[in-house]
Chain length 623, copies 2
Amino acid sequence: MSLGTFLFGSPLASSQERAERIGAAAGIPIFGLDALSSAAYGPEAALTLLIPLGAAGSLYIVPISASIIVLLTIVFFSYRQTIEAYPGGGGSYTVARENLGVSAGLLAAAALMIDYILVVAVGISAGVGALVSAAPDLQRHTLLLCLGILVLITLVNLRGVREAGAVFMIPTYLFVGTLLVAIGIGVVKSLLSGGHPAPVVTPPASRGAAAAVGVWLLLKAFASGCTAMTGVEAVSNGVKAFREPTAPTARRTLTIIIALLIVMLAGIAYLVRAYGIVATDPGQPGYQSVLSIMLGAVTGKGLFYYVTIGSILLVLALSANTAFADFPRLCRVIALDGFLPRSLAIRGRRLIYSQGVYVLAALSALLLIVFGGVTDRLIPLFAVGAFLAFTLSQTGMVFHWKRVGGRGARHSIFVNGFGALATGLTVVVVLVAKFLEGAWITLLLIPGLLLLMVSVRRQYHRVALEIDCQTPLELKSFRPPMVVVPIDRWSRVAKQAFTFAFNISPDVVGLHVDSGERTVYLQKQWQDYVEHPVQELGMGAPKLVCLKSEYRFIINPIVDYVLQLERANPGRQIAVVIPELVEHRWYYFFLHNQRAAALKALLYLKGSPRIIVINVPWYMQGR
Amino acid sequence: MSLGTFLFGSPLASSQERAERIGAAAGIPIFGLDALSSAAYGPEAALTLLIPLGAAGSLYIVPISASIIVLLTIVFFSYRQTIEAYPGGGGSYTVARENLGVSAGLLAAAALMIDYILVVAVGISAGVGALVSAAPDLQRHTLLLCLGILVLITLVNLRGVREAGAVFMIPTYLFVGTLLVAIGIGVVKSLLSGGHPAPVVTPPASRGAAAAVGVWLLLKAFASGCTAMTGVEAVSNGVKAFREPTAPTARRTLTIIIALLIVMLAGIAYLVRAYGIVATDPGQPGYQSVLSIMLGAVTGKGLFYYVTIGSILLVLALSANTAFADFPRLCRVIALDGFLPRSLAIRGRRLIYSQGVYVLAALSALLLIVFGGVTDRLIPLFAVGAFLAFTLSQTGMVFHWKRVGGRGARHSIFVNGFGALATGLTVVVVLVAKFLEGAWITLLLIPGLLLLMVSVRRQYHRVALEIDCQTPLELKSFRPPMVVVPIDRWSRVAKQAFTFAFNISPDVVGLHVDSGERTVYLQKQWQDYVEHPVQELGMGAPKLVCLKSEYRFIINPIVDYVLQLERANPGRQIAVVIPELVEHRWYYFFLHNQRAAALKALLYLKGSPRIIVINVPWYMQGR
């Protein structure tokens, strides 16, 4: 078994594609991990902003969570419709491009791509951050841990979609299961105690209120809480990965993901209020995550607490996987339209778009390294992209229904239009609330990416125009090329090269760079070994050209001679036949000067279409 | 001016070699820096071992220094003779090889090469070590400083021998000058005061005697002091770098270097005794180098003190340069004999053996990085190699004189024989005294290097045997090759490739890997654009072969087809013509799949001598 097979699994035939498709059970961890895991940081992000309100903070989490849940429901219904309308995979790019035009599509794509890269970096570093706050000894290995998890996720994804589903299923369901159980217990306790349950472990007391409630503060808390909604787009983009009937399977998957997320968000909000939990200052001594405080209050710090906290860490770190499932598909669609390098649309050995996986891994690794694995500062950046894509997608759907018309179109227009309005407003809120904290970076990156995509498309177009050809071969120009063979000394290697040279053309020149005594000897050999046999066949005597080299350079004089020959023979092809010794062990490489490679590179660089380089390899025995 | 010219200077013609040669004034810094700078650490190394003797330590430095000076004188006279006998450059390798046989020569070479690599690492790290003990803030940048100096020395050396001499002249003469002045002042003061001068700055008091004097201790002190003698070999190796008359110039240079070194060693020993200076524990608080204590005692810590200490730091750090001057020459001689890769014998643009400079820089950088720039542990390793080479060289000279005979031969035999005996004994002393501290590493490395050199020679021999050829071209086998042209779609790129293919052979096959709908279209085009024109010329219709690919691989089916074609046509050459799009900007590289390169690499790897790969590049316009 080769290393490739061990790491990535054996290649899959195109005909195996159907078997690689997934059902809802595997679809939830693959496309839902990002959305579900955000239950672990969305409420926390909102509550952190409410700290200045003191104990009153825990009261406001209910209306904020309610708004987020309403928004989530709107987006859910919109995307349900999108899946139905675009069973071939209806990501924001496709929908916006088809209904709003190419620019809108690219805008959505750019926003989403940036978002996915951020999701990977932020997810992994958040998971590792939670881990090292539990085990401070690991603190100094933060970056290493981040990159290790990234490599792991990348490898799993390179093995294909189904394998990824299998791997991520256990932590995902463990997380959802334990959190739901904890919420269930908490809600029952709260109801039994008439809304005022006694905490098992008392939550930290709030500091006194330092600020009055204001619209601005609530808006910011809402904007932060909206990070809980990233990842909702993933299912609609990946419809084709689902088992037949694809669209219904995808819709069922989306419904389950959103339902679970809503129950978790609502449950957390209810318990936070019931137990009067307020956030603690991150980065300060005594910091504890909201979920940790809540779990402690509901169940105490026993085995269950630790299992749940463990699954939260795991799911946070693995939430990057959703981006890995979706980013390559997004890139593929864009690449098929020519806006990204075409290799992003090629399916690798395991039927996934491997290049996209590499690109995502590389870019997020770069982010992790630049920020040393501590990506707190990136969090404000990453809801903008998602909501921009949501808005464009929903707006696109409105135009879609208008165009399609028919029964129920008005209802559909209303659903998607309302979605567009709600997410559009959210974009504005998020942008305004987080502009200074980092959202401006996204605003700069998106046009950059747009520009890149447009340039790629333009270059492809230029190439296509230039190489397009609707004319047949012009055979009147058939004429053997002039052949130049650089020769150092007569050897089997040289003999093989000259044999090939005379096989393709009678017009052969030997080219020797003068090295003193050996030249005279070579000239003698040339007569005996080349001139005579060729003349005996009645052909003209081939020339041996000897060049002087003032600066001991071997390659430059050859290149100059070839270029001069090309100028002197307009319309004629010049073939440079380079004899090359190929050793059967790589470490013998160092024993031979690499002139053949250098000569070839230089001839390429000087680039004339009439100069063709031919390597005639002599393979050393002994293999 | 290109970057290359800026960094390395413009290329030098072979005819400029004479002008690049150096006189004694430049020869001293180039070939003597290593020897001269060792005055700064030889006595110190000996005195450190005498610390246990307490105040009595300063007494024993005189006999130890005297022994070293005697040994140095013996070695000096031996090498004077060597230079005379080998005016073409008589390093230990040459002398031992010619007189004692190849094995002895290689042994000397291996010992010397390891020594030079160590000299670079130890010299630079000693200099940086002295610097950071003066400026502790720089401590954490130790490795960076080491590597920076290494890069600097490498660059200077790549500019050629003369430039290196000019750069290193000032620090060398400053060092020698200030140290001699200090010694002079000290000696005068001492004589005026009847042998008991009053120190300006009182030297640190010695600790009480902790051990009695023993032969073992004195031997170890002597062995450590012998590090002062490394680098003496350099001049005899580099005779050819000197101006005409080369041998006398080289001898004069050697004489001056040794004379300066002896004066400095003797002066330091005298003053150490006169001022009762004992070494302080390196690595302990209050550590100060012996030269620093001595300078303080003689002149006080004024401007002169700081200038002298500064020049010592500079010279230590730059002492690596001697190795850079000599190591490439040594490698070149060995490479000419085929025991090292031949590229080591090629002179670069500035008439120096650039490859050797790179190899030395890389290996010593490796040492510096592995040891983090703190190479104290390497010091015990590096006198063994030098003295082993001395011994072999002197023994070789004895046999040389025996063979040559003539007037004065007996005297010469005596001089070299005595040198061999003395240095041979020193090897044993150094080995025994320092075996556990690290000399055993050298004992392991030398056979490893020997083995490498013998293998290189064997492989060259094997290649030479295999490619040797004394037979003329066999023209009866002239027959155009079968040509295979992979084609994806008809384009200008493809058209150009087919034009070349038909230019070199009438036997052309188009090879297409099936990709669904496009195949049918291509087959139609093939008829119109290729078959018809070729048939009109009365040639047979060329075939378009379409291959199925189960795993979406494009390259493997092509390779398989070519290999199959080769097997089916024994004795026939198969030319694979690969159309390739060459973009004029490197970043467009990412836009195109690199199948051409991959196909070529794979065909090479499968390696059949009858398969020849031909790139037909299509250069994109727009340059």
